[in-house]
Structures are given as C-alpha cells and as structure tokens.
Amino acid sequence: MSSVTEKKEDVIILFAGDSGDGMQLTGSLFTSTSALHGNDISTFPNFPAEIRAPQGTVAGVSGFKLRFASMDIFTPGDEVEVLVAMNAAALKANLDQLKVGGTIIANTDGFDKKNLRLAKYDEEANPLLDSSLDKYRVIEMDVTKMTRQALVDSGLGTKEIDRCKNMYVLGFLYWMYNRSLDSTQTFIQEKFAKKPEIRDANLKVLKAGYYFGDTNETFTTRYDVKSANLPAGRYRSIMGNQATALGLIVAAKKAGLDLFYGSYPITPASDILHELARHKNYGVKTFQAEDEIAAICASIGASYGGSLGVTASSGPGIALKGEAIGLAVMLEIPLLVINVQRGGPSTGLPTKTEQSDLMQAIHGRNGEAPVVVLAPHSPSDCFDTAIEAARISLEHMVPVMYLSDGFIANGSEPWRFPKAEEIEAIKPRFADAEKDLDDGVYYPYRRDEDLVRAWAVPGMKDLQHRVGGLEKDFETGNVSYDPENHECMVKVRRAKVEKIADHIPLQSIEQGEERGDLLILGWGSTYGAIRTAVRDLIAEGHQVSHAHVRYLSPFPKNLAEVMSNFRQVLIPEINDGQLVNLINAEFDQRAIPMNKIKGLPFTAREIGERAKEMLVK
C-alpha cells in the first residue's frame, strides 16, 4: 500500500524508557544512521543517577534526545516532535518537552496497572485512555507482544526476547523517517557475531518494526529529512569524551612523546579513560590509580620522565588534586588536568551537567599558583582544544586545566575531521647539554624570552638536577629562602602564564558584527544555545553578536576591547556566575550574568528571551 511522504527540515526525537530498555543504544544507532544519511545532528543523553533506579519509576527513566536536520544545528533543541515512551514513567517524565501536536509512540504494554502505579499516576487514570493526550498524536503499539510474536520460534527465553524490544521501535522509526537499515544491521552483525541466535533475533525484530510501518493500515504519513548542506568534506559523528581522548593521542604523537594518562574513575570523566585504554597500540599508557591524588602524582612523575602526563576527573576529584597542581606549578613541568564538570557542590548531581568549577580551576590551590585554563565548546571541539591544551603545556612548561562538562562529554555531533598531517607539530623545549651547560654547570631554571625553562629529563647526560616544591632560586633552581627571590619567582610564574597570551589567537566574534547593542559572551558548552539564539536574534534584526572564550586564563589580549564595542555584555553560564566574576574583577566594563543551575543546558529560547529583555531597555 502507498503512504504519503512529507518533507521535514528539522526533527527532534526523544527516546525514553526504563534504564533497562536500551534507549541509549537505540538513540545512538538512529544517530549514526542519520549521520550517514548526511543530516546535521546533535544529541543529548540523560540518564538517571542510579545504575538502575527502581524499574518503572520516573527516577528510573533514561532518555536520549536526538535532533537531526537538513540545516545547520548547534543544540539538541528545545521542543520535542516525537516522544517514544516505552512506559508510563517515560511519558510522565518527558511529556512537558513534547510540542503541541507532537507525536507520542507509546508501548501500550508499558501502561499496565503496575507501570501506571509505579509512575505514580492517580488511581485508575491512564493517559492512553483518558483525554489528557488530546493535544498530541498518539501511536500505540504493543511492542512487547509484537516482539514476542516475531520471535516465537527463535528458541530464546522471554528475558532475551524482551531485550529485543528496542529494535522493534527502532525499525518502526526507520520506516517512519525513510531510513536505511544497513548501518544498524552491520552493527548488530558485528556486535553479536559470537551469539548467532541473538544476532538473528535482533535483525528479525528490527525488520518486523520496519515492516509494521510498511504494512500497517493506520499510519500513512512518512517523513523525509534531506541531508543537510554541511560544508563539503568527510564526516563522522563523535562524542565529547571520545574527541578529548583522540586529541590527547594525536597531541602526544605530534610532540613525539608517549602519552601517560593517570586517572581514577568518576562520572562523567571515566569514558576518556575507557576510550584511551582501547588504543594501546598508539603507545598510550593508561593507569587507573588508587585515588585522584595518586593519579595526578603519577602523571607528574610521567611528565618529569618526559612523557605527556595527563590526569582527569570531575569536580570532587579535582578538589583533591589541588595540592599536586601547585607542585606542578612550582616544578614548571608540563601537565594536563582535565575536569569534566558535573553538578556540584560536593557529590552534588553526578550525572547532570554544570560549569561551576571555573573558579576552582583558577583559584583552587594554596599560594599564588597560576595555571592556564582552556574550555572546549562542543563535542568535536574537544579534539582541537585538547591538542591546544597539550601544546601550551608542553611548549610553555606549565600545567593546563581543561574544563569540559557532562553535556559536551556525552553529547555527539557530526565532525568534519582533519587529516593528521594538517595538524601542526608540537615542539617541547628540551634541554641540550651541548648548548645549555655553562662551563660545565647546568642551570635548570634559566628561561627563554617566553620565560620558559628547558625540559631536562632523566637520561640526559650531565643535566642531573633536583626540583621540588620549595621556593627555588631564579637561576640555579636550588632551594632559596631569599625574600627578593621569592617575590621575583612569584611574579615570573605569573608573567610566564600571561605571556602565553602572545601565542594564542585574539578573541574573535563567532557571529554578528564587531560592534552593537549586545554581546553575548559564553564559554564551554553554552556555545550551541548561544549560537542558535544569536542567529535568530540577528534574523529578527537585533544588533547582537556572539563571542565564545576558549582561553579563560590568560584571556586573549583583546578581550576587553572586543567587549568595549558593545553597549551591554551578557554572560550566560550553567553556574551562579563565575566567568562574569572574573571579567568584572579584571575589566572596568561590567558584564551582566545569566545563570541556570538546574543540571541542564540552556535552551536557545531562554537565551533569546533574556537578550530581548536587555535590548528593549
């Protein structure tokens, strides 16, 4: 039978179900398929904090938001168009995100008495039966029943059979959005190569879902989302933590060094460790330490030995590394400290995103201990920023803090990836007995014009020297308690960091004019939301621009000047106002904070509305 096909530019699907329902996998499979289809994509997984919160409850709902479009997009978007609800709790938890007129694909089997009760719907109330969903288009299907039917003679047990449910839904959506099953089929074949019966079951159910759409009378509309006109090139889809890991491997190779990654697991940073551990054939040494302090200290040991030493954690773990970061500042050796931020304070909201560790990055140590601070702004940008962070650390002998967050880390987007050869080499300033010995004597703390000392590592003949956490003499590096020397060294360590501003790009305007009524200044993961909001504001004729700060310490030299060309500056942050605090401490022009502290990213709409309030003034 024939079915109408309708064109669409931009679709947002939210896959929601019990943590057991495999919604994350379903979502990522649809993602790669859409990516291969050439759409621009943006995703946002949202899992419960518990490994497995109670089944069927709202706390247990796991969601995966996928936006795919035939135009450029920068966020997972605000209003959901299709909500897949595997059970009542999934519906309840996410209905508020569904736009009026949107579609609900409900697994009727997930709306039985038990599930309704667990989702805390009032006695006897069933959204599928009462009129509460009239504003939406509801597609009901008994996924469980149909999956079981499809696999009656598969020889599998019900438990295994039910594990295939998500494939049924996926198959149906592929039909609905005119997608090919190929990449998913390949995936299934590879994943279950060793378990043929499971493999076949999944394939069968996937097709069943697809055919259900094809053959079933009730739905006659299908949608087609053409490929986006992204700049020509070769693309892959990538997640933030993955991009960070790849960036680190590339940076080490580009510097001709081995990569040592000392870390202690913590959400949401662990995936970097997991990813790196898969690439040992790139000479990557991963070390799961006994705690965060051991992790950073091991990395310091590796750096001292001439490797690219990297350590990573999230807020609470970074708090534990403060003392050791101070040591690295004093030693003046390369060290990369990655913080994938999450909701704080303390244990806070481990699975939610936040940008509240910026102040900790800048000030979270004893004494005057300046470090460099960088922040990536999107999943794929993690790759470039990780390389940039490593470059600065290695070429300037200074610890660098890299501030990612849960939103970037777990989100994904299409990435027009570079060729390895296009990436510039990193040039550590190694010592060399030939030129650095001064009639037989080595002065480990002599500096070049950038105030950078040379990197003398064990094994280099005649350059033996001792370093430590006590204040050291400007020249010899020996322990010095001299008052003048201390003041000099404190200033030198800061000046060294500030001089890095000579080696980084000036602050650019992402979008909009060089001057205007309002500059929206962001850092990190707010990029997509700001970018979208500003695009729309400009389209509406407002004099608004967007600048995004990657270098948070030192700031680009021209930052004050860039700001000064705007009547007002708005700084949206997923915290209680941190960058705005740094800016207001350093510059005379006062920026205005915009804060959201809900463990969730900004929506473009929120930023757009706030901007308009300011523009009418």
Binding site: L230, S237, G283, G301, F417
Partner: protein, 342 residues
Amino acid sequence: MSTTVDTQQLTAKDLATDQDVRWCPGCGDYSILKQMQSTLAEAGIKKEDTVFVSGIGCSSRFPYYMDTYGIHSIHGRATAIASGLKATRPELSVWVITGDGDALSIGGNHLIHSLRRNFDVNILLFNNEIYGLTKGQYSPTSPKGQVTKSTPMGSLDHPFNPLALAMGADATFIARSMDRDPKHMRAVLQAADGHKGTSLIEVYQNCNVFNDGAFEIFTDKGTKAQHTLFLEEGQPLIFGAENEFGIRLNGMKPEVVNVADVSAEDLWIHDSKDMGKAMLLTRMFDDPRKENGLPRPFGIFYQEDRYRYEEVLQEQIDHAVEVKGEGDLDKLIQGTSVWEVV
C-alpha cells in the same frame, strides 16, 4: 645545579652535590646518605639514569644531596610519583626516600598500593618514630605513650608494625637495617637494588633532636647483641654476644633457646622465600622495654619474584601493536563510520 664529571669510575664524592647538607649535627640521616653514595658508586650506576624521589620531611631532603636526577615532591606522594615515572621510563633506576610520617601516615595508601603493584622501585623508609621536620610530634610508628609536642600526656595510638603492614600489602621485598651499622646497610641497599620489584627497606634512624636514642637498645654496643637478630639466608636464627642464643619455632610461636641445649636442626633456619615464616618474623616486634622479649630481626625478611607492573604494561602495548599494528592517526581520527558531504 649539576656539574659534569666523567662517570667512568664513580666515587662516593662524585655523587655528592654542591649543596650544604642541612640536617642537624649528629642526625642519623648522614650515615644513610653516605652508605647510599658509596653503594651506588660501587654499583657503578649512571648518574643520569638514576632518580631519587622523596616526599616531605627531614629525610626527604635526601635528593638534594645526590648528584642524580631528583624530585623533592609533596608530603606522602613520592611513591605515587615514582609509579608514573617508572611506568613510563622502565630503564631508569628509581629510588624513593621517605619517612615514617611521609610513608605511613599521609602516604600510607600510596605505599600499600605501590607494594602490591610491584614496580621495580626501591623504597627507603627512614623510621625515626617521630615527625622531625615539624619539630617533634609522634608518628604512626611511635610507641604508645610517647610524650611529644602533640601528646603531652602520651600518645594513644597503637603504632603500625611497618614490615607486617608491608607483608599484608603483598610486598615482594622486605628488609630492615639501621643508621648505626654502615656495613649492614650497604649490604641491604645492594640486595634491594638487585631485587626486581618494589623493595621496602625500613631503616632505624636516630633523630637526636626530637627522639634521641629511640633505637639505642639495638644500636648501642652494650645492648645490641642481646636485642638484635641478624638474618642470614639459610642460616639458623642466632644472636647474643657469643651467638649463644637461638630461635626455635614452637608451632607458630618463636621462642628463645640456648644454642648449647638444642641441636642445629631444631633452630629456625632463615628462608626469605617462606611467606609464613616471614610473617612471623615481622611479628618479632616485642617492646624492647619488655623483659626477656624476642630480639628484633634485621636483614632481608622476605623476597619473592613477581611480575613488575611496568613490564606487563609494556607487554600489553607491544601486544596491541602486534595485533592491531602501529597506531595510524588518520585511522584513529576517522573511526569506523564515515560519510562524505559533497
């Protein structure tokens, strides 16, 4: 700073730096430094391939006085730093210098974890049963009741038995020596250097300013013979001015006997490969103030040959290269599913 010398035939002097040694006159640390310098000179090490890593404490000033590479790091973390260094530079000879506070108080966790991981690192624990650098508070090895600045009425903590703790952490080389016995210390240092894996050497070190005489009973000519037991591989456990006493195992209990009264085979023969016996040796830890307690053993308690962490780490990498081939950056960057936009 470092000055070039021809490393052909090193002497102890060549291993000294231009820095004034800043320990109190009479501190036991001097002797340990001296033994280390002569032992390494004898061993004919390469200065540039040797690294001393320390934490914070009087003892931890040690690296400044060795003309090798060195890190005087932060309190308690030397073992962790050494782990990262050894993991990435297996060919280096890495020594950790630490104190009873540095290693057993703030650094306790890193110590036990490095012992189980068994990097090929030598750990020298200067045990003076006091916090020297901070001017005299009790430490995790101070005997209960010790009166110090922080415990005017006497300390309350039941102290650690450092070697028993190390056994519990599955250390592969455990030894004890003392500042006042240079010959013995050099021998132990040599053995530790030779051991492949983490060596833990506890050195009884006198802090003559804040805890003078803590080990006098073991080091003083008058009492040493009675209270110390020097372990020799394959030899019976005997001690006393004329080696007149021996140790016999009665079930699990060591007991002192007159050598004269027993036949040689009744005596406990030292076997540093026997973990059970080693555990009992670490428990020969009677308070010296106690009447006819057991003597305190010195020497190598235990040694075991177990794989080194840095080796298996490298093996995995070599294996990965073997199976997947040298990593190719472009392959890495593009991953598995790529699409073209034209």
